[in-house]
């Protein structure tokens, strides 16, 4: 708390990017963990919560006639443009946020304060919920060929990972060569293994001069060497930076937008990761070859590519729990440097890079091409992304397993996964079909099949999103379905009683018996969603349960004439992008 100079400032404007007149006037609060903006209009109270850890930069803009502007950018791609009446307040908030958003020590991270109303036993179970060792046994390991590492049980071909060899220009290592030979021999189906270097060839060659490099095909028997061309963390960081600039332009022309998208290179990089993942999956499932993957250090590009290949090959990783296992295994336990890459602490900004974000986007791109094969929906990916940066749970703190052990995270913080599982009804893909699950995914990687992920990078620009959501509509239908099935069972029981087929129930009629419900899909019975989009059914009668999507329109329709455009000017006006809901629901960022 010692960093908060002013805990409360009144009459702060929250500027609306599209319609100045729609800007809100409210009160700003700073707590130890959050920035909270409260807007109180006639009868509605709107709260916007922003976690300090989510703030990536705070910028004081030049003074204007209407006040002192403060621009807050978040790792969740939220952008807050505040306007203070007094310079003093602006300065105080600025300084407080600078400090609060950049913790210096691990102990300052939210996870060390946060307790989701759980006891020690819950905590222990939460941490044990996802176990990497269990996953290896799920895959059918260890068998006669393998002791550890991971493998696709259908093919007996394996994907292995490591870092670059320290080959320099001439040196070699016989033990390393023998180990590759062993990996190769562990796969009886294919006489060779692929060695995939995920870097562009030029980068790998440059590394050779520094005593590192890549495998010489002459020294290793039976390897096929392949470069993939995924750029390094610095190029990715700059690319995201450029992409976000495109996203935040006020009302860009289509041409500006498309040119900006191209110049950012973002989709090109996403495609390069996807291409590499597809290469791995093909090698394993079509050529039945094992693959050894590395980049420079083996914890960024390698993690992206291996985890993506796992999703392409194994339907288990396309489930809600499977993705948790995959992240736990390929990212957390193999030492993706989350603390550095996400900039959890005030450390070297050159270590920050959206490597994990790119992985999530690749999964999203796949879900666009294959709408029925993932058990989870877009919200799940976005929630995981937010949680990675939030540091509210301990999973993504630290740079490797050893650091995490040293911090005693399992004793001091809670695990994210039980929390996500508890809310899994929000993250379910209603179109998910188990019958399709056994297939290997073969996505198209033609450029035109990659889309800009508006739901992620313009997540907070609600006006840009479809005003009615098919996903929400279907989610509410599947819930209605569960209610309906329960009601039907109960009615059938009552009918049987009335017909005398069943004996009269003793005592008051029981609540519908859960185990009779044919739907075993969702274990958590009555849904009360935080967004209030699904009304509980009264008497199982469906008529009143309107879809959440419609509410948005009601709001729109309820305030005609809310924007007045100066129609006299012939200048291009953003006619409709401003159709943001002024009465935004509580935006909780954690």
């Amino acid at each position: 708390m010692e960093h908060i100079i002013t805990p409360k400032v009144e009459y702060v404007k929250l500027l609306n990017k599209y319609a100045e007149k729609k800007s809100a006037l409210g009160t700003l609060y700073l707590t130890a963990t959050h920035l909270i903006y409260v807007e109180q209009t006639n009868n509605a109270r709107t709260e916007t919560w922003v976690l300090h850890h989510h703030i990536v930069s705070v910028e004081k803009l030049p003074l204007t006639a209407s006040g002192c502007p403060l621009l807050i950018r978040c790792k969740t791609f939220q952008l807050l443009h505040l306007l203070f009446q007094r310079e003093r307040d602006c300065q105080d908030v600025y300084q407080s946020l600078l400090r609060l958003s950049q913790p210096v020590k691990e102990e300052e991270l939210y996870a060390f304060l946060y307790n989701p109303h759980q006891n020690e036993e819950d905590r222990r179970q939460g941490w044990e919920f996802i176990s990497v060792a269990n996953d290896f046994s799920r895959m059918g390991l260890s068998n006669d060929y393998w002791e550890i590492s991971h493998l696709n049980k259908n093919y007996e071909a394996a994907i292995c990972r490591c870092s670059q060899p320290l080959s320099g220009l001439t040196s070699r290592c016989v033990e390393d060569e023998q180990m590759l030979q062993a990996i190769s021999q562990a796969n009886p189906n294919c006489p060779f293994i692929y060695v995939v270097d995920t870097r562009p060839k030029l980068n790998a060659m440059a590394n050779r001069a520094a005593g590192k490099g890549y495998e010489n095909e002459d020294n290793y028997s039976n390897i096929r060497f392949q470069f993939q061309g995924i750029e390094n963390i610095h190029i990715m960081r700059n690319s995201l930076q450029k992409l976000l600039e495109v996203c935040s332009v006020k009302s860009p022309s289509m041409s500006d937008y498309l040119t900006g998208l191209e110049n950012s290179g973002w989709l090109r990089h996403i495609k390069s990761v996807m291409d590499a993942g597809v290469f791995l999956a093909k090698a394993v499932c079509e050529e039945r070859a094992s693959v050894l993957v590395h980049c420079s250090d083996g914890w960024d590009r390698t993690a992206q590519v291996c985890s993506l290949a796992c999703i392409l090959l194994d339907p288990y990783y396309r489930t809600i729990k499977g993705l948790m296992v995959l992240i736990e295994k390929e990212w957390i336990s193999f030492g993706h440097k989350f603390s550095h890459r996400c900039g959890h602490l005030d450390t070297d900004p050159k270590e920050v890079s959206p490597v994990f974000t790119q992985f999530l986007e690749c999964v999203w791109q796949l879900s666009e091409q294959f709408p029925c094969v993932f058990e989870f929906n877009e919200h799940y990916l976005i929630e995981i992304h937010n949680q990675v940066y939030a540091c509210q749970y301990g999973n993504f703190i630290g740079n490797c397993q050893k650091e995490r052990l040293d911090m005693r995270l399992h004793e001091k913080t809670f695990s994210l996964w039980p929390h996500l599982l508890k809310n899994q009804h929000l993250y379910r893909n209603p179109l998910y079909r188990r019958s399709l699950e056994s297939t290997v995914l073969r996505p198209s990687t033609l450029p035109l099949h990659f889309k800009f992920w508006c739901g992620m990078y313009n997540h907070y620009d609600r006006g840009m999103h479809p005003k009615q959501s098919v996903l929400d509509q279907l989610l509410s239908l599947t819930q209605k379905q569960e209610e309906g099935e329960r009601t039907m069972t109960e009615l059938q029981r009552q009918l049987a009683v009335a017909d005398g087929v069943l004996p009269d129930p003793s005592g008051p009629i029981n609540t519908p018996t859960e185990q009779d419900s044919p739907s075993e899909k969702t274990p958590t019975a009555p849904f009360v969603q935080s967004n209030g989009s699904c009304l509980p059914l009264v008497n199982g009668d469906a008529e009143e349960a309107g879809p959440g999507a419609e509410k948005c329109i009601d709001k729109e329709g309820a305030e005609p004439g809310a924007t007045e455009h100066d129609l006299t000017s012939s200048e291009d006006k953003p006619v409709s992008v401003e159709t943001e809901h002024s009465k935004e629901e509580v935006q909780e960022s954690s």
Partner: protein, 549 residues
């Protein structure tokens, strides 16, 4: 003329058909007067029936004596036929070329097509101006139906009946017509029930370089304004283009003469530019190279998405003037048959929930496109694979459908029809067995005796068996104005049309089926629950209330 003269080789055996994402088919190729048919004569293999009118262009290649014809269709599909024998291949190619470029409309397939279904509801009689006027009359008595254009002499591209302000007589209409390009004087396009504001459309005024004016024209549009109220003139052209039009006798409304109106210029491209854009876009979509930068820069250079954005923005502007500003609007560009119609029809979809139903949308297309004189035959003569210099081809209607799809994507529950309905309209506008989109105006259609000699598209579409495919399972009538976002991030490439043949639709079809399944299962479930309730209630009234021991 006999088609037989054009068919040099009526059939060839051993032809191999290649289609993207489908297995190759070997069979017999037959040419008829209107179709290219490939049949394997085996069960379970789909035959190919391609209308010659659907063929945009062909390419031939030879390797030894094996000829290959690449057939590029107006619906953007590309197929390949391997034909053994050089002579056969050349004959087939020249026959296809001749048959797909017939000059005379009366030789087109709709004049030969005999439906295999019984026409129950004749689409030709479905949307007559008198009916639309009855609706209007129930809301306001400010308007009348004029027969001034009975013999199409005042305006050849207008229908014979037009809705005009009640106080303006036919003589004034004639004078106003002589002041507007092509005689297209301002007429009613849409009446906004909520506040009584109207949208009118016209062609550009013929002010010329010396600033001609026409009192009757001024009076005509002023008659639509309430006392003391201003209106908006939306000129779909930039001010620069409108200025240039003066030199050719056209122009725009001068403030001095139209003091009660404010003019707003937008920048919707002219039709020949749109055609170039379509060609570039489709070329980009067919590019198999793996360079992301190349794809994005080609997409940008086609300007297609920019055009979508500009058209939608202008339509939103018109809708906003009417609904939010409470002002009447006059829309025009140069000829009033292209961008004008895009804007007036899209604005109605935004404002009027009736246009979002199947019947309402059909009525909109009749009213704002067919009867309003969009030259379908000229605009849709060629599509994205046309080789020659475009004459008057332009994807004006396709752009309109694309804009509708954008709104549909943003409001997936507010339309009674689905994306397939829009794609079907695109296909039939370019090549069809039905007569609906033949001709360039009502006058031309009458002369061709289309309603006697051809079947209307609506007669077929509105049959329950066909309609089923086009119904949106998510539809829940929504009486509100729907404001689409026109931010670039909100406007996507219409994959259903442009990537339709470049991807496997298996997964997307499965997703759609699953969605339909969820919705239908729910309905069924609710019905069962209700029927059980009734049964229980009945039992209880028969037996008296249940007694618990």
């Amino acid at each position: 003329m006999e088609f037989a003269e054009l068919i040099k080789t009526p059939r060839v055996d051993g032809v191999v058909l290649h289609r993207p994402f489908m297995p190759t088919v070997e069979g017999t190729l037959c040419l008829t007067g209107h179709h290219l048919i490939l049949s394997s004569r085996q069960d379970n293999t789909e035959e190919l029936w391609l209308l010659h009118a659907n063929i945009d262009s062909i390419e031939k290649r030879f390797v030894g004596s094996l000829g290959t014809i690449i057939v590029k269709c107006k619906d953007l599909r590309v197929i390949q036929l391997d034909i053994p024998g050089m002579e056969e291949c050349l004959n087939i190619a020249s026959s296809i070329e001749a048959l797909s470029t017939l000059d005379s409309v009366s030789l087109m397939y709709p004049f030969f097509y005999r439906p295999l279904f019984e026409v129950i509801e004749d689409g030709w009689q479905l949307f007559v101006p008198e009916e639309a006027f009855k609706d209007l009359e129930s809301m306001t008595d400010e308007w009348r139906l004029s027969e001034v254009n009975k013999d199409f002499s005042v305006c050849p591209s207008y229908p014979s009946l037009l809705t005009v302000p009640k106080d303006i007589d036919d003589e004034s209409l004639c004078k106003a017509a002589s002041f507007r390009h092509g005689g297209r004087f301002p007429v009613l396009s849409y009446y906004h029930k909520k506040n009584g504001m109207v949208m009118m459309r016209a062609a550009q005024p013929l002010t010329g370089t010396n600033g001609r004016r026409c009192k009757e024209d001024e009076k005509l549009i002023n008659a639509t304004l309430c006392a003391g109220k201003r209106g908006y003139i939306i000129d779909t052209r930039t001010i620069a283009v409108a200025q240039q039009a003066k030199a050719r006798g056209g122009g725009f409304e001068q403030e001095a003469n139209y003091a009660q109106w404010r003019r707003i210029h937008k920048a919707i491209e002219r039709s020949n530019v749109l055609q170039e854009g379509l060609i570039k876009l489709v070329e980009a979509c067919n590019d198999q190279s793996h360079s992301m930068d190349r794809w994005l820069s080609k997409l940008e250079a086609s300007n297609w998405q920019s055009n979508v954005k500009e058209i939608l923005t202008t339509a939103c502007l018109a809708a906003q003037c009417i609904d939010r500003e409470g002002a009447s609007v006059l829309v025009h560009g140069t000829e009033g048959t292209d961008s004008t119609l895009q804007v007036t029809s899209l604005a109605q979809i935004i404002l009027d929930p009736a246009c979002r139903t199947i019947r309402g949308f059909e009525a909109l297309i009749e009213r704002e496109w067919l009867q309003a004189g969009h030259p379908f035959q000229q605009r849709c003569a060629q599509s994205a694979y046309s080789n020659g210099k475009p004459r008057s081809e332009a994807p004006v209607f396709l752009l309109f459908l694309d804009c509708v799809w954008q709104i549909l994507r943003q409001f997936p529950c507010s339309f009674q029809f689905n994306e397939n309905f829009l794609i079907m309209l695109f296909e039939h506008a370019y090549a069809s067995q039905f007569g609906t989109f033949l001709g360039n105006s009502v006058a031309e259609r009458l002369k061709l005796l289309l309603s006697q000699k051809t079947v209307s598209l609506w007669s077929w579409v509105n049959r329950p068996q066909e309609l089923e495919r086009f119904l949106n399972p998510l539809y829940e009538p929504n009486n509100l104005v729907i404001w689409p976002s026109v931010a670039p991030q909100s406007l996507l490439l219409w994959e259903g049309v442009f990537l339709r043949w470049n991807r496997s639709t298996k997964c997307l079809d499965e997703a759609y089926q699953e969605m339909v399944h969820i919705i239908e299962y729910n309905k069924e479930l609710q019905n069962k629950v209700n029927s059980l309730r009734r049964q229980l209630a009945q039992l209880e009234t028969e037996d008296g209330p249940l007694q618990t021991p």
